[in-house]
Point group: C2
Chain length 324, copies 2
């Protein structure tokens, strides 16, 4: 059995070795660039972990796993164009380094490359792997569409938000594990349990990201605190706060999300304090714990020795312990 | 055996019946829109014709054929964003009717839908169909990349241009026939012959389009004449003219492609006359005839009764007769 870190190394090595050498270079350079600027490689590692629960030889699972990472990076590339984001992982985004057309077209080519790699699984798994992947990939687009639509809406409800992050983020974690399980010859019951494990892990992870963006330790979290507050992003925290606030607190919150001129530090502090006052921080922490608990319940039921599951348990533990 | 027109009706009916009903509507409305504004449906018909050479029952080939049409329309949708084109088939383009983000994201979702439909072929063909499709789809992106790069270059050579249109246009016609042939249980030799038939047909078709854009009959051609001349598009005609012109003719041609202020009618007429003087029109006609001839050579070799091939022969004849 491989450790998480060993799998991470395998993935990095595969990505380093990727050859997209055919002309036109303008199409393939951006692919190499975005795949080369890092990232946690969580999704391809989940594919390998899913398979590794059931088989030791992962040699035929590696390229499909890389396909999932290519797909994920394709979505980031196009999301960055749509969000007009200048920076990704501390580097210029593709449309900033080149231009929007390059970003659109090399993204399109990446999505096809993703299918090539995912489709390089063994014949006996091809139908099932593709079915899971197609469904998941479409849901990721649906999530991004909801996310964009929410920007122009002031009546987004909690359930809608949770559905959006499920689609945009969580299903790809679940789908990665499930595809790995399929390529490991897992029972369909186990594959389904692992899917739900991954989806709930993704939900916890995304809600935790929202929380860390407000209350995290900048040095540990790795990015600037308060970005969501400054942009009035409709996170789990803000939607909840808007639903529960009344009286002066409601007035103050609405002041901060409508005023155009403000001191950034002051706004971050004020809105953070409101989240505490309204117990939105605590509510969010509870919700995250619930998702982690659910995710462990699913993992417990997976029908393999506990020893085999230890990397997945410690992955969960590591995430629970992210400093909040 | 089905006639071309019968197959066209089958495809239109399938497209009318497509249900992309899941929320978010903002993702699926643009798909319905672009698929609904017409087009020749040539590619899905070629899939069906390819299969129909070998089998009568096309019921399991229809959805994969629709997948090819979805893919083709996805490329048009993204190409229109990249070219900033306001009109497609006399209707507003998707990014004009909605916006660029909608066009990018619904295009992405269309490419996944395309894979879903293409992947709905029978299991025994899945690997081979996907291999052809992945390769072809990637080449279409490569062609679009070359096309965009050529806009900023003044030294594009004929062979580069021919390679670009092969990738951007011709391979998808060849690939459509080949995928159809695979789903009809054709021999791999026949599938290959049909691929080359389609590629050469596509080359002839595209070069003819370039020619009709200058010398065509507006009423028959269906779009305004001279658009390529006005935008200095590096077509087969212009590249050839630039390569062969010398002396006063070269001066005149360079005047027309550099001057910013001109009477459109006058420019179209003048450049058209230069093409005639340089025998570029005639050279282009010969080239087109060569591609048609090649394409018929491949079709002759396909190992099925001539009677079965008659729809493909008359498709070629119909294209040869497009008025030039």
């Amino acid at each position: 059995m491989y450790s998480f870190n060993e799998l991470h190394e395998i993935i990095e090595k595969e990505i380093d070795g990727l050859e997209f050498s055919a002309p036109p270079e303008g199409l393939f350079e951006p692919m190499k660039y975005i795949l080369g600027i890092g990232g946690k490689r969580l999704r391809p590692i989940l594919v390998l972990l899913g398979a590794n629960l059931y088989k030791d030889d992962l040699s035929k699972v590696c390229l499909p796993a890389i396909g999932i990472e290519i797909f994920h990076n394709f979505t980031l590339l196009h999301d960055d164009v749509m969000d007009n984001a200048p920076i990704r992982r501390k580097k210029k985004t593709v449309h900033e380094k080149w231009n929007s057309n390059v970003a659109i077209l090399s993204g399109d080519a990446m999505s096809i490359k993703a299918y090539q790699y995912i489709g390089s699984c063994e014949d006996k798994y091809l139908r099932d792997v593709l079915t899971v992947f197609n469904q998941t990939a479409l849901e990721v687009c649906e999530g991004q569409q909801f996310d964009m639509e929410f920007e122009d809406r002031n009546d987004v409800e909690i359930e809608e938000y949770l559905n959006m992050i499920r689609l945009k983020t969580a299903v790809l974690l679940g789908g990665s594990l499930k595809m790995g399980a399929i390529m490991g010859d897992a029972s369909s019951k186990d594959a389904e349990l692992l899917y739900h494990f991954g989806v709930n892990l993704g939900m916890a992870f995304q809600l935790q990201d929202d929380l860390l963006d407000v209350f995290g330790d900048e040095a540990v979290f790795g990015k600037k605190i308060g970005g969501d507050i400054l942009s009035n992003k409709k996170t789990f925290l803000l939607i909840n706060a808007l639903e529960t606030a009344s009286g002066d607190v409601e007035k103050e919150l609405k002041f901060w999300i409508t005023t155009k001129s403000f001191n950034p530090e002051e706004k971050i502090k004020a809105v953070g304090t409101i989240y505490e006052q309204l117990n939105v921080r605590e509510y969010s922490q509870n919700k995250i714990e619930n998702y982690f608990a659910l995710c462990l319940e699913y993992l417990d039921k997976v029908d393999v020795d506990a020893e085999k599951k230890k990397e997945l348990y410690s992955l969960v533990k590591g995430l629970v312990d992210r400093s909040v």
